[in-house]
Amino acid sequence: MIIDILNQDVPTPAGLIETVLRSSGVAHLASLHPSPVGDVVVVRWDDAVTAVVPEPHADGVLATYEQRTGVPAYADDVPPAQWSERIEHALASGKGSRIKVALVGVTEFQKDVLAATALIPVGETRPYSWVARESKHSSAVRAVGSALGRNPIPLIIPCHRVVRSDGSLGHYAFGTPMKAALLDAEEMMPRVDAPLVGALRGEVVCYPTCRHARRIKHPVPFSSVGSAAQAGYRPCRDCRPV
């Protein structure tokens, strides 16, 4: 039948869809870069990072990328030199706040948690309760921990800088030893083993890793913002202890 002949299929060339999605700039691009935790695949959309994945796990993450985000991620074997420089510098120095990020396929809650986490400066740490409060979800400390565990952009969004109030490191997707190593590399080891510190004749109480606290010659330890307040100390406006 004529109509059947006209109807017959013409197979679509493999790669047509990929070419279209790449050339339109809609597809995300994945490139390999060195980092303090080993080689990582960094996925970007334009100039914003959407994911950082350790190389051994990359295939699995990229295979489900379109399912989670709605767009595929294709390999970019030779990324622009400018991009490589920027991202590798951010990974090596821990200064991820300079890199634009795009959180795709995450909940609003996660976005709030990760946005707060992104504020933690290099070499400093914050407790989970601080992240909960900063992200306006004070009562959801455990959920904060889970959300951090699912951080799609580790290293750039420094979930490794979120620790327990009791001083222990807490969980980390790459393992606690890696978390310790990263914090070590950032030279955050505080001189005082206490939740909070103030200067001897000071007015302000800080987290021990706060850059102001490091300059204190004679640190006075405090166990809480409350006990510090009783001694006449107000919370630091930079590290905002909770």
């Binding site: 039948m1 004529i2 109509i3 002949i5 006209l6 109807n7 017959q8 299929d9 013409v10 679509t12 060339p13 047509l16 869809i17 070419t19 279209v20 999605l21 050339s23 339109s24 809609v26 597809a27 379109e66 985000t69 709605g70 767009v71 595929p72």
Partner: protein, 173 residues
């Protein structure tokens, strides 16, 4: 996925919706373009151009406008505009011509479908491809080629009759 799902996806998320649209429409777009321009390489280039223009346009459309779109017809209008200069070309260079570029990309005269379509003039070929290769409704074809539905219908019927008459005696009833 159907057209409504795709449109909904485009409204809620332009990039993800575009991906859905490309996946949903590319087999049909490519197939139609190959039959229109008779060359696979050209058809691929045209498909790409069509989608690039579509993406640029979609980014500027409001949600309301997108929700009301007739997506297939809209895509094919863009595709026909891109394809215009490639239609009605002389058919594939003679196989003996080894200098001809992309000679392997031309749809061979031995392809039965191509043989039938080559019996038609450019305008008849276009409407037959849109109707019977792509499967667009007459209303859409009419607006794409800028002719009344009635005219398009009779052009298609006449072309099919022509192709039928050229067939082997064992064809058709």
């Amino acid at each position: 996925m159907n057209e409504r799902d795709v449109l909904r996806r485009i409204v809620e998320d332009r990039p993800a919706g575009f991906v859905s649209m490309v996946r949903w429409s590319s087999p049909e777009l490519y197939r139609g373009l190959v039959r229109l321009v008779r060359n696979r390489h050209t058809a691929e280039d045209l498909a790409q151009e069509t989608y690039l223009r579509a993406w640029t346009a979609l980014q500027g459309y409001s949600d309301e406008r997108i929700a009301e779109m007739r997506l297939r017809g809209w895509l094919w209008t863009i595709a026909m505009n891109r394809a215009r200069t490639h239609l009605g070309r002389a058919s594939a260079p003679a196989v003996q011509d080894k200098e001809a570029p992309d000679v392997g990309e031309w749809v061979a005269d031995s392809d039965e479908c191509e043989r039938l379509l080559s019996l038609l003039d450019e305008s008849a070929r276009t409407v037959v491809v849109l109707r019977h290769v792509v499967g667009l409704p007459y209303r859409e074809i009419g607006s794409i080629v800028g002719r009344p539905i009635g005219t398009v219908k009779s052009d298609v019927h006449r072309a099919v009759r022509r192709m039928r008459e050229s067939g082997r005696p064992t064809d058709d009833h």
